[in-house]
């Protein structure tokens, strides 16, 4: 887009950005506070959302939204270095927070649209994204297709110049307050599964679309399920090529993984993690040798996960082509070690994690940790999917026999219902 900027240009940009930030953004009371985990996102109330949308609009008007995005769609067309300079200038200040769906909009949906959608589509929608007027949630998994994403059965049928969508989507983060959903649908049943998919932008106020929040085991309700009953769209709402949705999906998954970087935990730092210390202080005491050993085991794994993240980044830097596959190690480490860690904290907590007086007690935190601990083992591709990627793409092991890659999807579904286990 642009050549890399010189140091003088960047300095000037940074100074200008800092002046604007000081003038327009509030200082964060708890700057540098711990980052929230996906399950800890707070409820977006209508009033808060309106405030944050307003803040996003001001950011856009000042030219600090979509810094690296193309000018013709409302961005600034500047370099990633400019964006980093702005973020550095804004650190410690409150940037617009459009919640988990806002994160998906700016981190995943809009970048994917920019890579695949038509210029007309982008001119219509991207400026509204930047102005905080269009929050886009991901309508990705079906209730019947999660890790096997290409097996979605939500369908779009062409009817003249319209598309009629039917089916259901699930695990859409923050869809209940989003303005639209980026929806994956099957448009052709007579080709293999990867070749009959298409992406659509569905306004959340479309007739026939119902959005329900899912009550999760941890008490939150960030995730939603959508029901599409004869939802009508047009060709203008198609993102990328009709039946070419799988390449769009791959771009989307790339951005989704990119957002999680190498995974595998925070950088190493000295000392035991605070949640462990608080728990032992409060419920177990430091004298019990069994407790001490549990604490040490937790800490060994915490350090191993932190340094795994560093190793993966170094391996990715040494061979960028492998980055997507190596990311599976970080994801698998979380999927495997989060539950182990949660179980150990439960063991340390004992009865204190079964019943407690108030939600601030460490026993309650241990219990909540247990409920949340399988998140990374399931969400965004199960641990089994990561093991397949590592086995086949990193270790080079032979693939599983496939029953759905070359057969028309309509037959795949029928054959699966009549499964006998014998092939050919």
């Amino acid at each position: 887009m642009t050549n890399s900027p010189g140091p003088d240009e960047l300095d000037a940009y940074r100074a200008e950005a800092r002046a604007w930030v000081e003038e327009n953004l509030e200082r964060r009371a708890d700057a540098g506070a711990r980052s929230r985990k996906p399950w800890e996102l707070e409820e977006q109330t209508t009033e808060e959302l309106a405030v944050q949308r307003g803040l996003q609009r001001r950011l856009h008007e000042a030219g600090y939204a979509g810094i690296t995005w193309p000018v013709e769609y409302g961005g600034r067309g500047l370099s990633p270095a400019h964006e980093r300079a702005f973020l550095a200038a804004a650190s410690g200040h409150q940037l617009p927070d459009l919640g988990i769906a806002g994160g998906a909009t700016f981190g995943v949906c809009a970048p994917t649209m920019l890579a695949h959608a038509s210029p007309e589509f982008l001119r219509r929608h991207i400026p509204r994204v930047l102005a905080g007027e269009l929050i886009v949630s991901q309508f990705f998994s079906d209730p019947d297709a999660g890790s096997d994403l290409a097996g979605v059965r939500t369908q779009a049928v062409r009817d003249g110049d319209r598309w009629i969508l039917n089916g259901s989507k699930i695990w859409s983060s923050g869809a209940y307050y989003a303005d639209a959903g980026m929806c994956l649908a099957r448009t052709n049943w007579d080709v293999p599964k990867h070749r009959g998919l298409t992406w659509f932008l569905v306004p959340t106020d479309a007739a026939g679309l119902t959005i329900e929040r899912i009550r999760q085991i941890n008490g939150d309700a960030e995730f939603c399920q959508e029901f599409l009953d004869d939802v009508e769209l047009t060709d203008d709402d198609v993102i990328g090529e009709v039946d070419g949705g799988w390449s769009v999906t791959q771009t989307m998954l790339l951005y989704e993984r990119g957002a999680g970087s190498a995974g595998g935990g925070a950088s190493a730092r000295v000392g035991l993690r605070s949640d462990v210390v608080e728990l032992v202080d409060a419920v177990a005491g430091w004298h019990d040798p069994g407790v001490r050993d549990l604490v040490a085991r937790v800490h060994v794994d915490d350090l191993a996960r932190a340094t795994l993240g560093r190793r993966l980044l170094a391996r990715m830097a040494a061979d960028p082509a492998t980055a997507g596959n190596l990311a599976s190690y970080g994801k698998l480490a979380s999927g495997v070690y989060d539950p182990i860690r949660a179980n150990r904290l439960m063991e340390i907590a004992g009865a204190a994690a079964v019943a407690w007086r108030g939600p601030d007690e460490p026993g309650a935190a241990a219990a909540l940790g247990l409920l949340n601990s399988r998140f990374m083992a399931i969400a965004g591709g199960t641990s089994q999917m990561q093991r397949n990627t590592i086995g086949e793409r990193v270790l080079g092991l032979p693939r599983e026999p496939s029953f759905d890659r070359r057969t028309p999807f309509r037959e795949v579904v029928r054959n699966a219902r009549d499964w006998s286990g014998s092939v050919g």
Partner: protein
Amino acid sequence: MSAPRPALVPSPSEEQAMLLDASVRFMDDLVPLSAVRARADGADLDDEAYRRGAAGLGWFGLLAAEAHGGGSASVDALLDAALIAAERGARLQPGPYPGHSGVVRTLSAVADPAHDAVLAELVQGECWASFAVDEAGPCELRRDGRGLRLVGEVGRVAEADLCRYVLVAADSEDGPAQVLVRTDAPGTEVRTLEGLDVTRRWGQLVLDVEVGPGDLVAPPGAATQALLADQERVGALLTAAEAVGAMASDLDQAVAYAKDRIAFGRPIGSFQAVKHLLADASLAVEMATGLVAAAAVALGGGAPDGAELAHAAKAFVAERSVGVAHDCFQVFGGIGYTWEHDQHLHLRRLFADAECFGSAGWHRDRLLDAAGAPR
């Protein structure tokens, strides 16, 4: 499309790469696995040639100061040593490299002219030295008339019969001490032990020996305690690095076997039960590798988390490497139960490494102290 096994660090510097290339050629030439096997069956190692060759490559000077003939390939001397150790482990190499390196580091740090000659011998590969972490406790340094006597046992020293010197930790009235013992000195007995790990030989030191003033590496006291703790971490870290190499080579062979072996009309590696076992083993190897490399840099560079990472590295590797050895064994199936197959050599080596220079539990205990856990 099998990727080459990634080394301890994905992008070694040019100097590190040269050191590693030359070291790998040297090992494959002088002590290939066939020589390790011959030694397991009773043949003797050409130890003199091995020591001299390794010294010529600079293995033993990495942790010595320049004044003592030392020098490293990079600013991270301990990482350089760990890189060597990992390649040694991948080839199940003989010799007490982790212990030798710990003794070199200690003698160089003490920098007492009385030990200059010994340090020179060690750096130039004229002999081996080692030490052991004996969880039964240190020996005893007692006053005996005019002088001092070192009394006690040091159990399970790897390659004890190759060592000219052993650095022995001892308790004295004045606090912890370290004594440099010549294994051929009167009152020193090296008892040969039979052992699980046939890729190395094992010995026990039985000591009732006079200690001259020059044999004390540092006077009893807190400084000696810190020195000893550092030496134990270095021995443990380099042992963990050797184990990481052995884990990775075992896994490599299991992965290759899973691609070749046909059962039920398919290469067995195409079955998810096998594939997922290997993926989990591979995750363990990646985590162990990352932790050992990070610990080497942190401990070697005197970073605040160096001790913590070193104890965690040894504990993690001791806990997981034996699991990796079992997973690989399972993939090999019956062939892994034969003497001719390399699997049992890896299994033996990894279980022995897990205990050497402190077991997982011993290091977890010290990890808590290093991490500042209340007592």
